[in-house]
């Protein structure tokens, strides 16, 4: 279980997130939403130990992550970074194997456990046929799957994703998120992800946390949080919310781009 208690993070004088408390249980996905610069990425960075909080606590299974060394932390908690172009001529298999760093010694010698974990991660992300291809020659969606596979190979109970669907097309967005959904249920992973696309939120998340200006506005199930009132206020733009005809989940249309016809 991932538990964030009264977390405040500041970069110098600028407070990035303030007094945030959240809880995610195994098998559950928490989506962080909010405008650009709201503090979603900072939250992910703080939980993964890249920035130390000014105050508050982050615990995984009641162990404070601030107290444990980076190697051990990486066995509890893995991160899928934001989609971006990756250079380097490593093969997919080599890149995913590096997710095993926390389980290896200084020399990076692979043992059977490492090879098994990599094989499983490549299977789960459907990358087996890509194993010996160079990552720099993959498409954006494929590269993002490599980053997911690398995090899965890390074999941690907590998985965090920082806007994993940026720059991905519709098919790759949905297939990546459905895979995360499936793994969260099957392997009882505790998942926290920052998401940009509000309409993907109700497909993937059990809980949604809306963050604006570093403050937690509300947290709850997607229908609770994704109200036109909440979203309009957070994004400073009027929105219409309709129900998905089949699933009933909320779909958000910014009013500015909906053409008026009369």
């Amino acid at each position: 279980m991932l538990k964030i208690t009264n977390l405040t993070v500041a970069y110098g004088q600028n407070i990035a997130v303030q007094d945030i408390s959240l809880e995610v249980i195994p098998g559950e996905i928490l989506a962080l939403i909010g405008p650009n610069g709201a503090g979603k990425t900072t939250l992910v960075r703080a939980v993964s130990g890249l920035v130390s909080p000014q105050s508050g606590q982050i615990t995984v299974d009641d162990q404070a992550i601030a107290d444990i060394p980076s190697g051990e932390r990486a066995r509890m908690l893995s991160v899928v970074p934001q989609a971006r172009h990756m250079g380097g001529a490593f093969t997919v298999e080599q890149a995913v194997m590096m997710g095993r760093t926390a389980h290896m010694g200084w020399l990076g010698r692979e043992c059977q456990d490492d090879r098994d974990a990599v094989k499983l991660a490549l299977e789960q992300t459907n990358l087996k046929d890509f194993a010996h291809r160079s990552i720099s020659k993959l498409s954006g969606g494929e590269q993002q799957r490599v980053l997911l596979a690398r995090a899965l190979a890390q074999s941690t109970p907590v998985l965090m994703l920082d806007e994993p669907t940026n720059h991905l097309d519709l098919q790759h967005q949905t297939s990546l998120l459905s895979l995360v959904r499936q793994l969260a249920q099957e392997k009882q992973l505790t998942v926290m992800m920052a998401l940009h696309d509000l309409n993907l939120v109700s497909f993937v998340a059990d809980q949604v946390a809306l963050i604006v200006n570093g403050l937690l506005q509300c947290v709850g199930t997607p229908p609770e949080v994704l109200s036109s009132e909440n979203i309009s206020q957070a994004y400073q733009i009027p929105v219409d919310i309709v129900s998905h005809p089949r699933t009933g989940s909320p779909i958000i249309f910014p009013q500015g781009i909906v053409k008026e016809r009369d």
């Binding site: 890249l50 991160v79 990756m86 250079g87 760093t101 297939s175 959904r181």
Partner: protein
């Protein structure tokens, strides 16, 4: 939920892999490179004013072993030439090439920058300054004095790399332009101090140092013996840093999230690479571009995995500098060119080629 979980990835067809042109070259990097190095070593000993055939060299060398006694069918002068001149020279050149290439590979990985080279980033100049300070204060006359020079060079190298790194860093990254600019500026500054120190020293030392810094390695066994322990430690430690270098290629943040102790890894690599560079500079002077070219060739042929890249660079670096040194001895024979001139002649165009490639991000 059901609808989207049915969407599956359909992998694009994989292009058929073209068979490696030379399986021995590609699949057996260490065997290939050891054979190449042995050939380079033998020919480096063979070449000179008096040509000594490789067969003779092997016999003479074997005869030096305490438990081997061969019937001599060679002139005594050949033994003297090999043992007093060519063998120590060849060993020093090989060690220097190995050191510059492996530390170049490590700097490239550490800075995630294809143009990092001990010479271009100013570390070699810093090591040169350290070495010259030691030599001006106390010109080595016996082995004990030689051991001190690499330590002074190491201090110069580590100070330079820290200054250049901090000058060049922008938002946690070390971009190509700032790295080279900071390297050139700091290199020019340390070279100026070095020149000043040389000018104020006495004539004999001035000439010796000028010769060395011009890229002409020291002669005799003393520099070889003094360099050997530092080289073994430095390159041994560099060879096992490959995994850290690999993980660092994803950037420091991701490396941390993957569980690498990033600060420890960086300090380890800076110290070992600077030590290795410093020893090479202390006894062989400033020889540019080997640390740039060799890791690139290794990367192109054998891939980017630093676990192999660093050790292969050690072997290929040794052979490459031996070849450059043979050219330096042959091109204007009987005059011997400083080997640094040959590496610069070959390396500068190569540097420009990489610069153009780096823009297109083929390898990085």
């Amino acid at each position: 939920m059901d609808a989207i979980s049915k969407i599956v990835f359909t992998p694009a067809p994989i292009p058929a892999c073209s068979p490696a042109s030379s399986p021995m070259l590609r699949n057996r990097p260490f065997i290939f490179n050891i054979l190449l190095l042995l050939a380079a070593l033998i020919f480096s000993i063979a070449l000179g004013a008096v040509y000594i055939p490789p067969g003779k060299i092997l016999k003479i060398l074997a005869d030096q072993l305490p438990w081997v006694a061969l019937e001599p069918d060679w002139p005594n002068s050949s033994v003297a030439i090999i043992m007093a001149v060519r063998l120590p020279h060849t060993v020093l050149i090989a060690m220097t090439g190995a050191a510059l290439a492996s530390s170049g590979a490590a700097y490239q990985g550490l800075f995630r920058n294809p143009l990092a080279d001990p010479y271009l980033i100013g570390v070699a100049s810093g090591a040169g300054l350290g070495a010259v300070v030691a030599m001006v204060l106390n010109w080595p006359t016996e082995l004990g004095g030689y051991y001190l020079i690499p330590i002074a060079a190491f201090i110069g190298a580590i100070l330079t790399v820290l200054i250049v790194y901090n000058l060049a860093r922008v938002n946690g990254l070390v971009p190509l332009t700032t790295l080279i600019l900071a390297g050139v500026a700091v290199g020019a500054f340390t070279s100026a101090i070095t020149s000043y120190l040389m000018l104020t020293s006495d004539d004999q030392i001035y000439r010796a140092i000028a010769f060395l810094l011009g890229g002409s390695p020291m002669a005799g066994w003393n520099p070889v013996l003094a360099a050997l322990p530092y080289m073994l430690v430095g390159m041994g430690l560099l060879s096992i840093s490959g995994h850290s270098l690999n993980v660092l290629q994803f950037g420091e943040d991701e490396a941390r999230q993957m569980g690498l102790n990033v600060d420890r890894a960086k300090i380890y690599i800076i110290i070992t690479a600077s030590l290795t560079t410093a020893v090479a500079v202390a006894f062989s002077g400033v020889i540019g571009f080997i640390g740039l070219i060799v890791p690139h060739i290794v990367r192109i042929i054998w891939g980017p995995d630093y676990k192999r890249l660093v050790p292969i660079s050690i072997f290929l670096g040794a052979s490459s500098l031996l070849v450059a040194d043979m050219l330096a001895r042959i091109l204007l024979a009987p005059t011997t060119l400083p080997v640094g001139i040959v590496t610069a002649l070959a390396g500068a165009p190569f540097f420009l080629w990489i610069l153009r490639r780096a823009k297109r991000e083929v390898f990085w």
